[in-house]
């Protein structure tokens, strides 16, 4: 157990030293078009990649909460949120009606066999990445009401 603790703390300390690049993976959008994740995020504007699923209640709560303030976020920082659904073929059908039914305006990408989720070593949902110039500058897991405000502070910090 002691060794596991040492191992974890070492990995943690390494993690503080670097910012990662996104993997070169293509995902489909809701219109069936292929989108390259690297190209999409190579931008001076901050991009938020939010990993979610239709069956994940905290994910829906987070995206619902952000959707209420999203217009203000975009006006002030030009940030773009890309909601990456990890739904498999069981619940994938529910994505389109759910997104429209909730009136979300995010771009939706489909990671239906979890290729991107696996490549980024994401284990729990919701999981959120803040990306600028193709580099991951912040990662966060789980959602509590109000934590979207902390996300926005980071977005503001990296704008310009």
């Amino acid at each position: 157990m002691k060794k596991i603790t040492i191992l974890i703390s070492m990995i943690l300390s390494c993690g503080l030293l670097f910012s990662q690049n996104l993997p070169n993976i293509n995902l489909k959008n809701l219109n069936g078009k292929s989108v390259n994740v690297q190209k999409l995020t190579k931008s001076k504007n901050v991009k938020v990649l939010a990993f979610w699923a239709t069956w994940c209640v905290p994910c829906i709560n987070e995206l619902d909460a952000i959707s209420e303030v999203y217009e203000d976020w975009q006006d002030e920082t030009n940030v773009e949120l890309i909601a990456i659904s990890t739904d498999d073929s069981r619940t994938k059908k529910r994505i389109r009606p759910l997104v429209n039914g909730k009136d979300w305006t995010y771009e939706i990408l489909l990671d239906d066999n979890q290729d991107l989720k696996r490549a980024l070593n994401i284990t729990v949902l919701p999981h959120l990445l803040i990306v600028k110039n193709g580099e991951i500058i912040y990662r966060k897991t789980s959602y509590t009401p109000g934590s979207e405000d902390e996300i926005y502070e980071i977005i503001q910090k990296y704008t310009n």
Partner: protein, 560 residues
């Protein structure tokens, strides 16, 4: 074990010398440790799978490292440790510490080549899906090679070969696959319309145990798909054909019972801003498909090549997950089963702001209904004396006995900037005999009220009250949850469900959990003490049975 830990510790240390290298590494760590306790109410700890009652502390650990180099290459390893044994209810094939998966991948704009373990999915997965679910103890990746070739942006071709991962070993059976996807909409330069066509093949080759087999070593599955999307309307259809193969009856592979299978999947929907509707129909006939024929019916879902999820809504609350449907695709003449037929309907609607029902913030409504039944037809038992072979004859669109139905309504309402609530109602009918092997049809009504109150400074509190009434004297449940978020990092919760009915497995027992979590960035630590109810644990429409257990659980997940 110690050497591996030391080795793993050295990797990140050595790499920290070079930031260049670190920029291209991602690491995922997951650790789940349970200290199982003897429980005065539900009995002493005992692990039937390993016939062990002494090793109370168990730990499942996963470390995955991905390294991107020379722009186009990725090397990936996953090390897994189940010490001293895996957690309860995991397959015995996960034992000790070992290399779980490894792969080397090359990718450019046209080619994507993987050697080693890979995960692949053709279409909806009805004929092939490799995936990992650590909670369910599933990792059915293939070990071999895969090539994906995209000569133009409207066409994608995949060829693969491999043996399937089973615990830390690989299957005897071999899997061959070929997949083609054509974006006909892009090819024909449609502006507003998308039209996709997919054709796939999967073959499984395994030696037969019979001297004179009445079926081939190689079983073939074909899938054809059309995917259409225009403006607000979409529709897709898939047809699957499975060649003749031996059926397992009464736990034995039979040379006398050989038959094929098929699947039809149809989905259509319409959605616009504030409104969405989606309908699915599916018929399955003898669609079980494993890399080893004898794996059919295993409770751990090991060796499955295709993905057959239950198409019902995945509910979010404790009492809505007591009776969970599992897709039925197995042939069983004793219960006149050869598959299932049925469908599911989803409706989403947002009542606009500043209307009578919408109020200041609008109201969000989600409705789901599903119905599943057996295939109606004639089922003929094996009778060597009379010279009849086992067989069945089913109608294409005939609905047999009911297996499951579910109706649910969810209303989400924000009352003020600080208060929001969810009202949830479910009506379910569950054929316990079909899904679990014994019992009768149970019909239940479940109501849930959930409210979240923001207290400012990141503090918030959430309540859930749940009630389940059924037509059976055995099930009358009450449940509740309280969760308190101290800030965005610390969270504590307590929940409890209690059956006032006469069900001998669960009556008069509190299935409670108390726990807390700490989250910082992408690191989460969780600690939980509680009593787990025996029953089906389901993730993504795939279920396995878990035994009753009481204990202290610690989870660590980390992504770097």
């Amino acid at each position: 074990m110690n050497k591996i830990l030391l080795f793993l510790t050295c990797i990140p240390l050595g790499l920290s010398l070079s930031a260049q290298v670190l920029d291209n590494i991602t690491i995922g760590l997951e650790s789940n440790t349970v200290w199982y306790n003897d429980d005065s109410e539900t009995g002493d700890f005992f692990d039937n799978a390993n016939n062990d009652g002494d090793k109370h502390i168990r730990s499942n650990n996963y470390l995955k490292i991905d390294y991107n180099f020379l722009e186009s290459f990725t090397a990936s390893v996953q090390i897994e440790s189940y010490e001293p044994f895996a957690l309860l209810n995991y397959s015995k094939s996960y034992e000790g510490t070992n290399l779980g998966t490894y792969s080397l991948n090359y990718r450019d704009s046209k080619l994507n080549i993987t050697a080693g373990h890979f995960y692949s999915q053709f279409g909806s997965g009805l004929i092939l899906r490799n995936w990992e679910d650590r909670q369910l103890g599933i990792n059915n990746s293939l070990q071999g090679g895969k090539v994906v070739y995209e000569p133009a942006d409207f066409v994608s071709l995949t060829a693969l070969y491999g043996k399937q991962r089973v615990g830390f070993k690989i299957s005897d059976g071999e899997v061959f696959g070929f997949n083609s996807e054509l974006d006909a909409g892009a090819l024909l330069d449609f502006r507003e319309t998308s039209l996709g066509i997919g054709l796939s093949y999967v073959g499984r080759k395994e030696d037969t145990p019979f001297v004179d087999p009445t079926f081939d070593e190689l079983t073939n599955l074909f899938s054809g798909r059309v995917d259409f999307y225009q403006n607000k309307f979409y529709s897709n259809i898939e047809y699957v054909l499975k060649s003749e193969d031996a059926i397992k009856q009464g736990g034995q592979l039979s040379n006398r019972f050989v038959t094929g299978g098929s699947a039809i999947l149809f989905n259509t929907g319409y959605s616009k801003s504030g409104f969405g509707i989606d309908a699915t129909f599916r018929r399955l006939e003898n669609m079980n498909f494993f890399s080893e024929r004898n794996a059919a019916g295993n409770v751990f879902n090991e060796s499955s090549i295709n993905y057959i999820p239950g198409l019902t809504k995945q509910h979010d609350y404790l009492l809505t997950n007591i009776f969970v449907y599992q897709a039925q695709s197995t042939v069983n003449l004793d219960t006149s089963q050869s598959g299932e037929i049925g469908g599911q309907l989803d409706l989403f609607y947002k009542i606009k702001k500043e209307t009578l029902l919408g109020g200041k913030y609008g109201t969000k409504i989600a409705l789901n209904a599903s119905y599943w039944a057996g295939l109606s037809g004639d089922y003929i038992q094996d009778n060597p004396d009379a010279g009849t072979l086992p067989s069945y004859e089913v109608e294409l669109f005939g609905f047999g006995g009911k297996y499951f139905s579910d109706f649910s309504l969810e209303i989400r309402k924000k009352w003020s900037p600080k208060w929001r609530s969810i009202l949830y109602f479910v009506n379910q009918s569950y054929n316990k005999k079909i899904v679990e092997g014994s019992g009768a049809m149970i019909t239940s009504n479940i109501g849930v009220i959930e409210s979240t109150h923001k207290l400012g400074n990141g503090k918030s509190i959430r309540f859930e009250a749940q009630k389940l009434n059924s037509d059976s004297a055995k099930h009358d449940w009450t449940g509740g949850t309280i969760e308190y978020n101290l800030n965005s990092k610390f969270s504590v919760y307590v929940n409890d469900i209690y059956n006032n009915g006469s069900d001998s497995d669960t009556e008069k027992t509190h299935f409670f959990n108390v726990g807390g979590s700490y989250t910082k960035g992408a690191t989460r630590l969780g600690l939980n003490y509680g009593r787990q109810r025996a029953g089906l644990l389901c993730v993504g429409g795939v279920c396995r049975f878990v035994a009753e257990a009481t204990g202290l659980t610690a989870n660590i997940t980390m992504s770097l």
